[in-house]
């Protein structure tokens, strides 16, 4: 069959229609300095923050198409518009998150309880994985596929990758990550982002490294949108946006109240 587009009129209609079309681009969501969760809008070099969709956030992460939010006592999933989805999970403390390769919510690690939760599309559920077998502090986690979780664990100052089965909690793989140090962020394809000396380092799955010039003092990396990582700094400017595909770093706008 010959491929053909039913095109011209439909395109014009799509562009002109109220919902098509043209919107301000939204990168994702982030936690601002006042611990509110806000959409980050704009493009490289030109950002603005939208209205807060949640307050008192302890941890949050966004893939751009979905977000996970941890407040002081609950954990929940937000859709692309920032609206709650499914049921909340009651839990204390902070959380670390992982998304599927397509950006859907996948896993949440709760350091306080040492539990790993899996999002089933409606609610979180416990997995057999616990802190007991990790023998260290979880720095990051990723969801390479639906059967395993890949942890980055800090053991005596070294980072280790530890993959654990989501079915039985058994250790599938464990390897030292030489030269890498916290803070670090593991991606589903095995890429590791970590802070080197005067640079941010992206170590690919095969060990190849890419250097991103950086003179700050990173304390945390958090996904905040497709292709975007929030780099929280110990020194001003406190919040940078790293675009993974280009390696470009940008200052993220702070709100007036955050500087007072």
């Amino acid at each position: 069959m010959r491929t053909r587009f039913m095109a011209t009129a439909l395109l014009a209609g799509a562009v002109a229609s109220a919902q098509s079309g043209l919107t301000p681009p939204q990168i994702g969501f982030l936690r601002d300095s006042a611990h509110n969760v806000r959409p980050l809008l704009g493009i490289s070099g030109n950002f603005w923050l939208g209205d807060a969709i949640a307050a008192d956030a302890v941890s949050t992460a966004s893939s751009g198409s979905a977000s996970m939010l941890k407040t002081k006592d609950s954990l929940r999933v937000l859709n692309a518009l920032g609206h709650p989805v499914g049921r909340a999970w009651r839990a204390t403390g902070t959380a670390l998150f992982a998304f599927t390769p397509s950006g859907a919510p996948a896993l949440a690690w709760l350091p306080d309880s040492g539990e790993l939760l899996r999002w089933n599309g409606i609610r979180f559920e416990r997995t057999p994985t616990s802190a007991a077998g990790l023998n260290g502090t979880v720095v990051s986690l990723a969801a390479p596929d639906s059967s395993r979780v890949a942890f980055v664990v800090q053991r005596d100052g070294e980072l280790w990758r530890v993959d654990i089965s989501l079915f039985d909690g058994g250790v599938l793989f464990a390897a030292n990550m030489p030269g890498a140090a916290a803070p670090a962020l593991l991606f589903d394809d095995g890429t590791l982002l970590y802070a080197g000396t005067s640079a941010l380092m992206l170590r690919g799955p095969q060990g190849e490294e890419r250097t991103i010039a950086y003179s700050g003092s990173a304390v945390q990396f958090t996904p905040m949108g497709r292709d975007w990582i929030l780099v929280e700094n110990g020194l001003p400017p406190n919040r940078l946006g790293l675009r993974l595909s280009t390696g470009a770093l940008f200052e993220l706008p702070e709100l007036p109240e955050a500087t007072q």
């Binding site: 069959m1 010959r2 491929t3 053909r4 587009f5 039913m6 095109a7 011209t8 439909l10 395109l11 014009a12 799509a14 562009v15 002109a16 098509s20 079309g21 043209l22 919107t23 301000p24 681009p25 939204q26 809008l41 704009g42 493009i43 490289s44 070099g45 030109n46 950002f47 603005w48 923050l49 292709d227 001003p236 400017p237 940008f250 200052e251 993220l252 706008p253 702070e254 709100l255 007036p256 955050a258 500087t259």
Partner: protein, 470 residues
Amino acid sequence: MTARLLLLAAILPLAGLAQLRLSLYDGVTETPIGSSLDVGPATVCGPFTSPYAIRLRNIGQDTIQVTTLEPLSGVISLPGAPLPQFYLAGGALKSLGTIKFAPTSTGSFTSTLTVTGTDLTTSTVYNVSVALTGTSITAPNLTDTSGISYCPGDWIKFERTQVGTTVQTTLTLANPTQSAVTATVAEVTPTVGGTDFGPASPVTVAAGVTQTLQLTFTPSIPNAETGTLTVNGLVYHLAGDGFVPPFPQPTLQLSANANLSSNQAQVSIPLSGAAASTATGQLVLTFQPLGSLADDPNIVFTANSTRTLSVQVNPGDTAVHFQAGDPNQCTFQTGTTAGTIMFTLTIGGITVHTSTPPINKAIVALDLSTAVPATDEIILSLAGFDNTHAASSLAFTFYDTSGKAIAPGLIQSDIAGPFADYYRAHPEAGGVFKLQARFPVTGDITQVAGVDVQFTNPAGPTPTLRLPVQ
């Protein structure tokens, strides 16, 4: 009768005396002088000059011709007094200058201040006299580190001193006398906030002892000030001059990318020299859009998402510092609208302006573009900016896996209306947009391999962008 005449004769001189009156004048108040006046003390090294003026006043109604006024010279004298003869109208006064006591040796000295005048109406002769006494004492030996000796009445001058800092003069005070002497520093005209000369506490130097004396001057305000160092009643004058150096000239420096849309540029503010004092101020950003374009709210400082930043300079700083974000430089977004960004810095009484080179109209720039196949359509997503806010057309051409254009070939769309509506509805976006277009496909969608995209705005068409469909 004889007795009465004698009495009258005795009274006349008394009445004559009363027509001329001598007094001390301190600049504000006249104090009548009695029959005697102590002056000094003084030393051979340094004469004593009274800080008060002597005034002669005619308290009668008739004009008096002053015929005698002395002493005009000598150990105790009035060297500045007017030479007789001169006239003094009724009620008038004459300044006789100040008394100077310049002993040639230690000991006591006396002199008599005498004024004689004749009433031109009654021919009555009036006399007034005051016994002047002064004591010459042994002076302490006061020298500075360069060997200069100071006598009472001399000026000890401090170098010009920046307000808030302290300059010190080291003196050596030798006390050759048989008893302790006390050195006291005072300010002649008190300064708000306390005395600027030091030390604050008296210093005692024992008999026969030589001791270092540290004098200080710490000006709290910018002006010339005088003080005194008094050693056993002998007065040395102190002079200081406080100043505030001019605020160094700030320069607004912009990074080279400040005239490019959708950039984050930096402002730094070096000073022409080190600042001497603390100052605070503001750096204000304003934006003048090109032509009739609307303002762009994303042209802000990233440190606080506003167009005003507080700035500060501390003593010793060679650059202005920012109070939010990076203290050494501030970042601002150049936005996505053509125009000019201007900066005004106000600090230390200085206002400085600068502006970016014009941010000219530019072709549409795409930041993130994707073409994703769905079941029966291609979803095209284009995020970027148009700093003219006036994109007019958009053209697409889809290609198959062999590189051939897919029918109907070039697809053109007039987007002027939709974009104008979008920018009106979303003033918060500046020139930023995300366009999503869906292209229904009939046939095998896997054969669609890529799409060329081309925007046109008043700055011209973009280079054709080939997006893979994936």
